[in-house]
Amino acid sequence: MMTRIFGPLLIAALLLSAGVFSAAPAHAVTIERVVSPGGINAWLVRDHSNPIISMRFSFRGGAALDPKGRIGLANMAASMLDEGAGDLDSRTFQQRLEDLVITLRFRAGRDSLSGRLVTLAENGDTAFAMLALAMSKPRFDAEPVERIRSQILAKIRQDSEQPGAIAGETLFKTLFPSHPYGRPTDGLKDDVAAITQADLKAFTAGRLAKDNLIIGVVGDIKADTLATLLDSTFGGLPAKARSWTLPEADPQGAGRTIVIKKRVPQSSIVFAEKGLKRSDPDFYAAYVMNHVFGSGGFTSRLYSTIREKHGLAYSVYAGLHPLDRAGLIFGAAGTANVSVAETLRLLRQEWAKMAKDGMSEKELADAKTYLTGSYPMRFTSSGSIAAMLVGIQRDNLGIDYMDRRNGLIEAVSLGDVNRAAKDLLRANKLTIVVVGDPKDVTSSN
């Protein structure tokens, strides 16, 4: 897409608060709770209009739990799980997935290891069987281990020169200097180099279990068929994941500006401030407030001021970024080196203005009609519905959340959003990282 692409983090933030619709335009899906004979739970939305099955699943506990000296283990394990299992070596496993047009992928986030299985309904049994094999009997053979390791190391190398990646990594390191959230999910070079087959085996044995598993399924499958597949696919996992603790994380570095010199024509700017966790009672107020402030597509205040009025950036946004043990408001912009100072001035100005003056009734009303009216658009593909099923379970929002979600948005008052703005947006507490060769901007202290 040529124009108007927003950062992936913004999209992530929107998905995290995935909601649902009430009242008028029906979302038109019915969630069934499927419990297998073996006690595995899944939420199912049946849709027989197209012969495919989409499943998303997630295990709580992600890269933030990587052990010392093995930072990057979750990411590498995720990349290895489709590289051979049981009697099938990597080549055979991959060939079978390709021949049957089965998509099977794992991905490590800071707080979870998630997976995606998409298949034609006619190959459903084989697809689920391959997933079962991948989780229960991964081979971690030497050839794929070294291949994937070298690919991850290449990505780490590339990111070490990529302004946006450097900025993001530096920001998290600054916000969480002594918490695992400060470490890059892809891992540290030396740690990735040291990961062994035994580490990978210990990871899958300890982290993939029944008690931290969440499943959402959409598509051409019946509840009883799914129940049987749930047992054959996930039933063999250990009952409990290895116990873990992850401390609460209080973002540090408030008010700091960090400049990292790189000779590039455009500076990458990222910024963050302490925000809210998903479970915070003020989450909806903050969500609606931030829609007006930073994530409202082509109409947010940051977009209007920095892009529309001043032409300083192609992409500029701020979004809520809730983690399990911390909340952030996170944003980014890219601007020519000569315009960094002006962009930061406008950013701080908008930040302060929203905190001080709040928004108007009209802005609030417009935000609500957007947020409630666009909700059905999340139901336009089976993959996005499956992702919502997982998100709602993950955040413990309840199986009726889709019916309640728009009501929660509607209930937010002007007092709520303006209080949220005052509490959250403190321009002098922003942590800012600039990577590039900015004119007249230097690191603080």
């Binding site: 209009s49 047009v101 291949r147 336009t380």
Partner: protein, 447 residues
């Protein structure tokens, strides 16, 4: 992991990297009709939720720009949000948002498209607004100059900050000697800077007209319900003859070219080769479907020949693949890319790729490879039906470049009809060094 690296190593131009409309469409069973002013209309029903995607495609892209005006098609796309006689700058987007709609727009070498996804009960409003901006755009110098800065920032983000993208731009300019595909969709910076209000308005008036436009609506709607609305809003726009798309064509190419970029920012070198190739509409079009299957077998995924040979078996590369799109109005390209493992020289990597190419050209593909590829590709049609916008995008792009609906609908069958002999013939005809550009992305040692 694999995919991400492949994308990083691609270094394709914007038109392909960002917009490769998945031809792997399949059967969308659309309804079609035309308005009296020549505007074509396509309807794809999908009743999962009471939502529609409303798109207007224009038969104009970066390859239709005049001399010295690179970037004007894309610049105009940005400026289309800046108001009409009826609406102030930015109001279009505010109305979309207030009505719970999501919108965007995109430009390729061959087309420009605008879309909104909205609740079906709001469709009429958006048809009125989209029809309005087809002919009533109002621009001022100030708005134009401010948006120009945005586009220049976009260029810095996409291209100037990224050595791989800079090389991709240079490769494209070298691959096409005369065809305007040689121009970057976003434009050369010095020409973007020189674009004036007069240039933009002349381009707009020349191309934005019903006979050059296609309306595509996908979702909870039928042709019978859409037709009166389409006639009311788009049908009311005065007719003008369709604008001819006269583009310079390629001369015979006889010398292979090499393009090298050394940059201190490069942390992972990359090798690339692009061959000038026919599309479904240009050159030796009989090879197009065979080339699609060939690209899949040779470098389409982790089980492909190239990935296995370079990455798995010989372990000299981190990533490797090939890609081809038949859906271009002008000459297409067959691309191959690979990233060497640390310590492996470009010469070693290149020699192995040449060996695999020679094997392919001399020996063709096996019956089993062919059967598997076809099955995979045909199944992708089923997945393409899943999303609301998939059919709209595929059909809109196809019509905008000059294909017919049946070219999309019959795609699975045509892929199914490809033979091993046709693949051999296509490989022999297209994979010729003298019609190629080989590229090297290298690290420059600083010090």
């Amino acid at each position: 992991m694999k995919r991400a690296l492949q994308i990083l190593a691609l270094a394709l131009p914007l038109s392909i990297a960002c917009l490769s409309a998945p031809t792997q469409a399949g059967v969308f069973n659309p309804d079609t009709f035309s308005l009296s002013n020549g505007m074509r209309v396509v309807v794809v029903e999908n009743h999962r939720v009471p939502v529609v995607t409303h798109m207007v495609w224009y038969n104009v892209g970066a390859a239709d720009e005049g001399q010295g005006e690179t970037g004007i098609a894309h610049f105009l796309e940005h400026l289309m949000f800046k108001g009409t006689n009826k609406r102030a700058p930015g109001e279009f987007s505010k109305i979309v948002a207030r009505n719970g709609g999501q919108e965007n727009a995109f430009t390729s070498s061959d087309y420009t498209a605008y879309f909104q996804t909205v609740a079906v009960d709001r469709l009429e409003l958006f048809m009125e607004m989209e029809a309005d901006r087809m002919t009533n755009l109002v621009l001022t110098e100030k708005v134009l100059e401010t948006e120009k800065e945005v586009v220049l920032e976009e260029r810095r983000s996409r291209t100037d900050n990224n050595p791989g993208a800079i090389l991709g731009e240079q490769v494209t300019a070298a691959l096409y000697l005369n065809h305007p595909y040689r121009r970057p969709v976003i434009g050369w910076a010095h020409e973007i800077k020189a674009l004036s209000l007069n240039n933009v308005m002349a381009f707009y008036k020349k191309w934005y007209a019903p006979a050059n436009a296609i309306l595509v609506v996908a979702g909870d709607i039928t042709a019978a319900k859409l037709k009166p609305l389409a006639e009311k809003y788009y049908g009311a726009i005065p007719a003008k003859p369709a604008t001819p798309r006269a583009r310079p064509t390629e001369p015979p190419q006889s010398a292979g070219r090499t393009v090298t970029l050394k940059d201190a920012r490069v942390r992972q070198p990359a090798w690339g080769r692009n061959y000038l190739a026919p599309s479904l509409l240009s050159g030796e079009t009989q090879h197009a479907y065979a080339l699609e299957v060939l690209a899949d077998i040779f470098g389409g995924g982790p089980s492909s020949r190239l990935y296995r040979a370079l990455v798995v078996d010989n372990q000299i590369a981190l990533s490797a693949g090939s890609q081809y799109s038949a859906d271009d109005r002008g000459p297409s390209r067959f691309g191959i890319h690979a990233s060497p493992k640390p310590g492996v020289s470009m010469a070693t990597l290149e020699a192995k790729i040449e060996e695999e190419l020679a094997k392919l050209i001399d020996g063709g593909v096996t019956a089993s490879e062919l059967a598997r590829a076809k099955k995979r590709m045909q199944a992708s049609a089923v997945f393409a039906r899943d999303s609301l916008s998939g059919g709209a995008r595929t059909l809109g792009a196809a019509l905008a470049i000059g294909l017919k609906i049946e070219d999309v609908e019959a795609w699975p069958e045509r892929i199914g009809a490809v033979t091993a002999e046709q693949i051999s013939a296509a490989a022999k005809a297209v994979l010729k060094e003298g019609r190629s550009v080989t590229s090297y992305l290298l690290t420059k040692k600083t010090g």
